[in-house]
């Protein structure tokens, strides 16, 4: 299976961890290539976070990730809806999806 194109958005201060870039389109490789050891073909959010960690998150990943998920306090929206309605880490990513990360940890 070939790769996917997804749009990633970072806001609420989360963009500060990603070179202040708020929106980027990324192409994900075939999952068998990226993570051959897990024997999966379909990208889920769980693997997307690993990809983000390896490719976008240059330093201090603990500010964005905790365990295999995002750090509590960072909201995730899948196509503008709360990921809690869509299985969170188990959500299967589709081509063209927009995944948004909003930090609530940066205050005001």
């Amino acid at each position: 299976m070939s790769g996917l194109t997804v749009t990633l958005q970072f806001s609420g201060g989360a963009e500060l961890l990603f070179d202040k870039v708020k929106k980027r389109e990324v192409e994900l490789p075939a999952l068998e290539k990226f993570l051959p050891q897990i024997n999966k073909t379909d990208w889920s959010l769980r693997e997307l976070l690993v990809w983000i960690k390896d490719n976008l998150l240059r330093e201090r990943p603990e500010l964005f990730l905790q365990g295999d998920s995002v750090r509590p306090g960072i909201l995730v929206l899948i196509n503008d809806s709360d990921w809690e309605l869509y299985g969170e880490l188990d959500y299967k990513i589709h081509n063209g999806d927009t995944i948004m990360f909003i930090s609530t940890l940066h205050g005001g």
Binding site: L16, L63, L85, Y86, H106, G108
Partner: protein
């Protein structure tokens, strides 16, 4: 397969409410979110018809959403409130100037008058200048202490009935947790109250007290409200950071824990003999204070004396600094130095002194004081040089005889030079001890706004600076 709105409206749900677990569509979420805040306002009787209310606006998510919702509810339910925005400009380049732009946007969007008060005007120092003096480490002491007082002063200028702040449920739960972790029982009782303010101060109310942070952020996102998010450029309070992280971890497992912690704080019985420090008037700036000299004045004293760490940090450090200062001034003991400071201290702070010198003091500090906010030129000499240092020196020698040992001892205490004040033990008297190392302890309700930025909330989120 989209999840449908729980209300049966037929629309697609967009979020799961942390408070109830309900999946709601955008419109039903807005309705629930606003209705709950309206309920909080009416049940807590936060406002009266005709009140002028200042919304403490930082440009961040909480105050932006607060301003939006207050405007909406004021119109929808005819509260009859005269709403305005009050912002504090700490003078932090690149941080506050950006967020003030956001506040100005709020002003235009919500058609509310905006008052911006700067540290420079009030205290003669910007945070940038303070940073230059003191380094980054203890800045939050200044920004927390000054900010709290600045809001009170601003509210007095605007002649408002109360100040509405954007503290949300997560903030309050965090404060409850912090007070429990510190054994600060006296403050525990107060920190959950929806309206705080003792005699002589302008009450602060928290319309978002029961509103989850997640919902505030989602509301701002869906409503496309523009807010400013950044971390405070100054060092966070590590202890609070851990408390926040713990809370967020627990919230993930059981979202209701936020409300449960607030409920615990509200209903916890507190022994009668545990009291907060009583409010009085700072003898220097005449503003409400729990100490004889308010913390802002102590900090300013240090800054203006070139001893910026006075009043913060470990007392042993302050002692060392004073010793160095001694050496410079030719004093040999701390007591002598304190006498010197004491002398200055009795001379300054009187606006008449400044004027009686027949030199018009043109510093903006003094202008502010004419606005009847009782602010005085605390250092006794104006920063812009219009007021010659003479007046200070004159009075210095005049008053030299008037000192007493008692006063010095009080001052020693005031400047936290007694080692005991550093080792706070848990107990009824806890609340009466000003713990020099704990910046959140400076004022009774201060926990909630320890810093103008978010450093108090940030924990290890601190990045990039």
């Amino acid at each position: 397969m989209p999840v449908l709105c729980r209300t049966g409206c037929g629309k697609k749900a967009v979020l799961k409410r942390p408070k109830t677990g309900d999946a709601l569509c955008k419109e039903c979420f807005y309705h629930a979110f606003e209705a709950e805040i309206h309920y909080t306002i009416t049940k807590g009787r936060l406002f009266n018809n005709g009140d002028s209310v200042a919304i403490a606006a930082s440009g961040g998510k909480d105050s932006t959403v607060l301003a939006h919702v207050m405007k909406t509810l004021n119109q929808r339910y005819k509260y009859g409130l005269n709403l305005m925005l009050l912002s504090i400009d700490e003078g932090i380049t690149g941080y506050r100037d950006d967020s003030l732009e956001t506040v100005k946007q709020n002003r235009d969007d919500y058609e509310m008058p905006l008052k911006i008060l700067s540290y420079k005007d009030l205290y003669g120092w910007t945070m940038d200048e303070i940073v230059a003096q003191i380094g980054r480490k203890n800045n939050c002491t200044f920004c927390g202490v000054f900010r709290r007082q600045a809001l009170d002063r601003g509210a007095a200028m605007l002649n408002v009935k109360c100040i509405a702040t954007g503290h949300n449920a997560d903030d309050i739960a965090e404060t409850v947790l912090m007070n429990v972790l510190r054994g600060d029982i006296a403050r525990l009782k107060r920190c959950t109250s929806i309206s705080t303010g003792s005699e002589g101060t302008i009450p602060r109310v928290k319309p978002l007290k029961y509103t989850y942070e997640k919902e505030i952020v989602m509301y701002a996102h869906y409503k496309k409200l523009v807010y400013f998010s950044t971390e405070c450029v100054f060092a966070p309070n590590a202890y609070r950071g851990h408390a926040r992280a713990l809370l967020k971890d627990m919230e993930k497992i059981r979202p209701s824990c936020i409300m449960d912690i607030i409920y615990s704080g509200e209903t916890m019985a507190v022994k009668e003999d545990i009291t907060l420090p009583t409010q009085r008037i700072c003898i220097r700036c005449k503003f409400v204070s729990s100490q004889e000299v308010c913390k802002a004045c102590v900090l300013l004293e240090g800054l203006n004396k070139g001893l910026p760490r006075l009043g913060i940090g470990k007392s042993s450090k302050a002692k060392k600094m004073l010793e160095e200062y001694n050496a410079k001034q030719g004093h040999t003991t701390i007591k002598e130095t304190m006498q010197y400071l004491d002398n200055n201290y009795t001379n300054i702070g009187n606006i008449e002194n400044c004027l009686s010198n027949d030199k018009l003091c043109k510093s903006r500090v003094c202008k502010v004081s004419k606005n009847n906010t009782q602010l005085i030129n605390i250092s006794g000499k104006c920063n812009n040089g219009h007021c010659s240092g003479q007046c200070k020196n004159n009075q210095f020698s005049k008053d030299k005889e008037n000192k007493s040992n008692t006063k010095i001892n009080i001052l020693l205490e005031q400047y936290e030079l007694s080692e005991t004040s550093n080792n706070v033990t848990v107990g009824p008297s806890h609340a009466n001890i000003l713990n020099a190392t704990d910046l959140d302890n400076l004022y009774p309700d201060q926990d909630e706004d320890s810093c103008s930025g978010t450093c108090g909330k940030m924990g290890s989120m601190q990045i990039g600076f």
